[in-house]
């Protein structure tokens, strides 16, 4: 194959690859999990979990939320000023992260469930 053809082919493959990755981005869905599953998942897993807010600690530019579900409790880190009522039912979408050997969820989005 000539270098000119290879150059064109490289451009086409890279554009197709980028396009596929964009589609994957748009279609990816978080995995629905419960508290027990958090410890078994590797970092950066994209997850969705529901629970009740038990405690929130507000710092300069982030909050640490303690959430309970039927199986136990877990910690969520939220980098936003969004505030929630204690005991409110929340759906957390985010990624698993490890901090001091403990798994926690770094929230991307938190939705307050209206009952």
């Amino acid at each position: 194959m000539s270098l000119k053809k290879l150059k064109t082919l490289s451009l086409i493959i890279s554009i197709l690859g980028i396009f596929t990755l964009i589609i994957l981005n748009l279609t990816q869905q978080p995995k629905e999990i419960t508290t027990n599953q958090i410890q078994n998942l590797t970092d950066n897993n994209y997850v969705k979990i529901q629970g009740q807010l038990k405690e929130s600690k507000i710092f300069d530019n982030f909050q640490i939320l303690t959430i309970n579900d039927k199986e136990g409790k877990f910690t969520t880190i939220l980098f936003s000023e969004q505030q929630f009522q204690k005991n409110s039912s929340l759906t957390i979408i985010g990624t698993i992260q490890t901090y001091k050997d403990q798994k926690q969820i770094q929230a991307e989005k938190i939705i307050e469930n209206v009952s």
Binding site: N25, N45, K100
Partner: protein, 399 residues
């Protein structure tokens, strides 16, 4: 305690040698392993010893990661640009000289680190809040500056910058494990290997020539690095690579030798000062510094003195170690089949990618390889591919 510190430095140097020399094995990976075992390790070893191990490993890595970049064309993200002038030296049979220039650069970084540490401790915290607000503007200006440097085709430079930006945004939002591994390894390492396999590149016998660094070269590079490297140590997305390009503009028409020295200085300064910025402005751009932060919570004056001592000791040892390892590479490079080595490294990088980032990571790796290869075949500078980090960072700061 003293014996434990010495052992931690030795172990750090040994591990840093492995991460520096094996393509695809980054210190962030080892730091993450240390961090995930820190609860178990804390029963056996003091956090200070773990901190010294990480610092020693990270500094050794910055001295040695140019060796695979220049001899094998398989860089890690911190040394991607060394393959450009470095490859030229390799093809002239002077790869060892190129390594020596980067090693002297890293060694020159040590006094710069000592000078800038107190400055960072006392003066950076009050001004950082103001700097933070203009980071996206600095990055946009830096991008425009880099694109205007292109002599062949500015249109293609913009296109490549944007394409790599799209690639970066889509990769970083895919929630992959180690997303930078397939992205940067493909764009800079894998594509170089494919290019040398296709072009059936013959590597000439490598000579062990003594290098000459004139006082003028030395003062120009130190002047340029001192002005820029500390700033780049807390600016996101602009790595040692772009920093070296921008820094090299401070001195007029830098030679390839000066560029390699500059790259060595910046690579080591960024790593060492990242340990300090974490303490002073609660921000760090390196995985090693973040691991230290999680192990030690906060750094005391004694911790900082220990970090500086570790940087100096492991830096000096790594300098001599790097010289010897480079000689071994230079002696044995012609004895090996470069094409077979390139194919083996490419296969290793592919397996590493699948192991850490899965099948989607492989898709990122393939796409990055072809985009990198396109840029090589087009003949424009590969620095525009850093749009893959610069564009997502600008968007992150603006949103």
């Amino acid at each position: 305690m003293f014996l434990e510190i010495v052992l931690a430095i030795i172990l750090g140097i040994m591990t840093g040698t492995i991460t520096g020399l094996v393509p695809g094995v980054h210190i962030n990976l080892i730091s993450a392993i240390v961090l995930s075992s820190s609860l178990f390790l804390s029963n056996l070893i003091s956090p200070i010893i773990l901190m010294i191990f990480i610092v020693s490993m990270a500094i050794t890595h910055t001295f040695l990661d140019f060796i695979p970049s220049i001899y094998l064309g398989a860089p890690d993200p911190d040394s991607v640009l060394s393959i450009l002038p470095g490859h030229d030296f390799l093809l002239k049979g002077k790869a060892h000289s190129a390594i020596l220039y980067t090693l002297y650069g890293s060694l020159l970084a040590l006094p710069i680190i000592l000078i800038f540490t107190p400055i960072f401790i006392f003066f950076l915290p009050p001004i950082y809040e103001h700097i933070k607000t203009v980071i996206p503007i600095i990055l946009i200006l830096a991008s425009i500056f880099l694109i205007f440097q292109e002599k062949n085709s500015k249109v293609w430079a913009v296109m490549i910058f944007l394409l790599s930006g799209f690639l970066g945004i889509s990769t970083l939002n895919l929630h992959l494990q180690q997303p930078l591994l397939p992205l940067l390894t493909g764009l800079f390492g894998g594509s170089s290997l494919i290019s040398s396999i296709i072009k059936k590149q013959k590597i000439p016998k490598q000579q062990l020539v003594k290098i000459k660094i004139t006082k003028k070269q030395l003062s120009r590079t130190i002047y340029s690095a001192s002005l820029s490297a500390p700033i780049f140590s807390f600016l996101p997305a602009l790595g040692a690579n772009q920093s070296a390009i921008i820094s090299s503009q401070i001195i007029k028409n830098p030679s390839q030798e000066e560029f390699l020295i500059l790259l060595g200085i910046i690579n080591t300064v960024i790593m060492a000062l990242s340990f300090i910025t974490l303490q002073t402005i609660s921000y760090s751009r390196t995985g090693a510094a973040i691991a230290i932060h999680q192990i030690t919570e906060s750094l005391s004056k004694e911790h900082i003195i220990l970090i500086l001592l570790t940087v100096i000791v492991s830096g000096i040892i790594s300098f001599f170690l790097g010289k010897q390892i480079s000689k071994i590479f230079a002696h044995n490079l012609v004895k090996i089949n470069y094409k077979k080595v390139s194919i083996t490294i490419l296969a290793f990088l592919t397996i590493t990618t699948i192991y850490f980032s899965g099948i989607i990571g492989l898709l990122v790796f393939i796409t990055s390889n072809f985009l990198g290869l396109f840029v090589i075949l087009l003949g424009v500078k590969r620095t525009y591919l850093m749009g893959c980090l610069m564009i997502p960072t600008v968007i992150f700061y603006l949103l």
